[in-house]
């Protein structure tokens, strides 16, 4: 076993690399946030189409959701990355790898969110729509004032779970060399082979982010359900 004898301790190295680490962390947060926000918006739209659309309109969207949910996230990332890369190159557009990463995670997120939305909306009794119609409301209004508020309470906890899945999934972007926190970890280990220490530290950072999201979600839940009562 090679004994690496250096004068610089583990924590000193961490301090020296702090810019790298902070860059990686901000990339991770940026990519995750982008994917979650865009993915949720897209997922809500797709979910609405699948729940209320007519038979032919919803077919391609159902197929999209079924395929994406049947794929591992890693495969989705590889496919989007390689396919987009090829297609864009042949058109002559250069897209930053991070944007591609956001797109891949966004697609994954949208498929999950659409299922949540569909499930929650289908649980609301049809009579609620009838009641709205009887009052003279049109469907978009019924959606806004009656259906979505009720669905929101049911969607929130699993949505928080999806958000943490996206943060965890962002680590997979390192496997297509997109610069985020996981990749920084690998680089640190390459320079100074203390795998256990570095990966545990990086793992702790992700754990903290996700736990913060979890706690934030619980606090939000309390606020919403109180209002709804």
């Amino acid at each position: 076993m090679i004994n690496i004898n250096t004068n610089i301790s583990f924590w000193e190295r961490i301090w020296n690399s702090r810019t790298m680490i902070i860059d990686g962390l901000s990339s991770t947060i940026l990519v995750s946030l982008g994917a979650i926000v865009l993915g949720t918006i897209l997922g809500v739209i797709i979910g609405l189409i699948i729940t209320y659309g007519n038979k032919y309109v919803k077919m391609p969207f159902k197929a999209f959701v079924d395929i994406v949910r049947g794929l591992p996230l890693l495969v989705t990332i590889f496919i989007i990355y390689y396919y987009l890369d090829y297609i864009l190159k042949s058109i002559g557009i250069v897209m930053s790898p991070m944007i591609i990463g956001i797109i891949a995670l966004m697609i994954f997120c949208s498929a999950q969110v659409s299922e949540l939305v569909r499930g929650a909306l289908q649980n609301i009794p049809k009579q609620q729509i009838d009641a709205g119609r009887a009052l003279g409301m049109r469907f978009p209004q019924i959606l806004k004032d009656i259906l979505l508020p009720q669905a929101l309470v049911e969607i929130l906890p699993p949505w928080v779970n999806s958000a943490t899945e996206i943060v965890k999934g962002s680590t997979l972007l390192s496997l297509v060399s997109i610069a985020e926190l996981m990749l920084v970890g690998k680089q640190l280990v390459a320079k100074h082979p203390r795998a256990l220490a570095y990966y545990s530290l990086i793992g702790l950072i992700y754990f903290t982010i996700n736990t913060a999201i979890e706690l934030g979600g619980k606090a939000l839940e309390k606020k919403i359900s109180f209002v709804k009562k």
């Binding site: 280990v189 256990l196 754990f207």
Partner: protein, 219 residues
């Protein structure tokens, strides 16, 4: 854009693809088995009356559910050797996936145990059964029957998670597809093949589980 599809690469390597599928299924099934065993033990701690065991269970679940699987794989495969523990790739991956899955199964088992009507448990005590007998003869059998569908669905989820084995060069579907991509430059074709395998396998597993559920319902 000019691209002519040529699926020869896929057809020439069908055996490699299928071996990768087999490995993926193997990793998933073995990991689920260990996840169930470990998860059950932790769940028993979670529903016990010992505050320390309850806290330890909660900590375990939180740590393994909020940390990315990829990092856990790296910690176990690359990190443990720092402590002198060197594991082979399959063992390291199965260990990781088992510990990760155990956190999920703990929650499933805990919810299953807590959802049993208290009256049924009281009836067990009323005829003089001890705590251990009530757990073994009444609570666990009822719980297992109710969580069977969740366990089946989680197997499908774990199967998709085996794609991460590619990160440590285990030759399951994702890894060999990536390798074929590099070797043949037939990007579209090989990844369509990989996607097809995953989606169809997941679909068949779901259908199979549905049929099993129906069979048991009637009984």
């Amino acid at each position: 854009m000019n691209y002519t599809f040529n699926f020869n690469v896929v057809f020439r390597n069908i055996d490699v693809f299928l071996k990768g599928l087999g490995l993926g299924l193997y990793l998933a099934v073995v990991s689920l088995t260990f996840a169930i065993i470990i998860g059950l033990i932790i769940a028993l701690g979670a529903v016990s009356n010992h505050p320390t065991m309850k806290k330890a269970a909660r900590i375990y679940v939180t740590v393994f559910r909020n940390t990315p699987l990829l990092i856990l794989v790296y910690i176990i495969y690359f990190g443990l050797p720092d402590l002198g523990l060197i594991l082979s790739k399959p063992v390291a991956f199965i260990l990781t996936l088992s510990l990760y899955g155990a956190a999920y199964m703990t929650e499933v088992f805990r919810a299953g145990l807590e959802s049993i009507p208290k009256g049924i448990i009281e009836a067990g005590y009323a005829i003089g059964l001890s705590k251990r007998m009530v757990m073994l003869d009444i609570r666990l059998p009822i719980m297992f029957r109710s969580v069977l569908p969740s366990m089946g669905n989680y197997l499908i989820s774990l199967f998709k998670d085996t794609s991460l084995a590619a990160a440590i060069a285990l030759p399951e579907i994702t890894y060999i597809t990536k390798r074929l991509n590099v070797e043949s430059f037939r990007t579209f074709e090989v990844w369509i093949a990989a996607a097809f395998l995953y989606v169809v396998t997941s679909f068949l597993m779901a259908k199979g589980l549905g049929l099993l559920e129906q069979k048991w319902e009637i009984k």
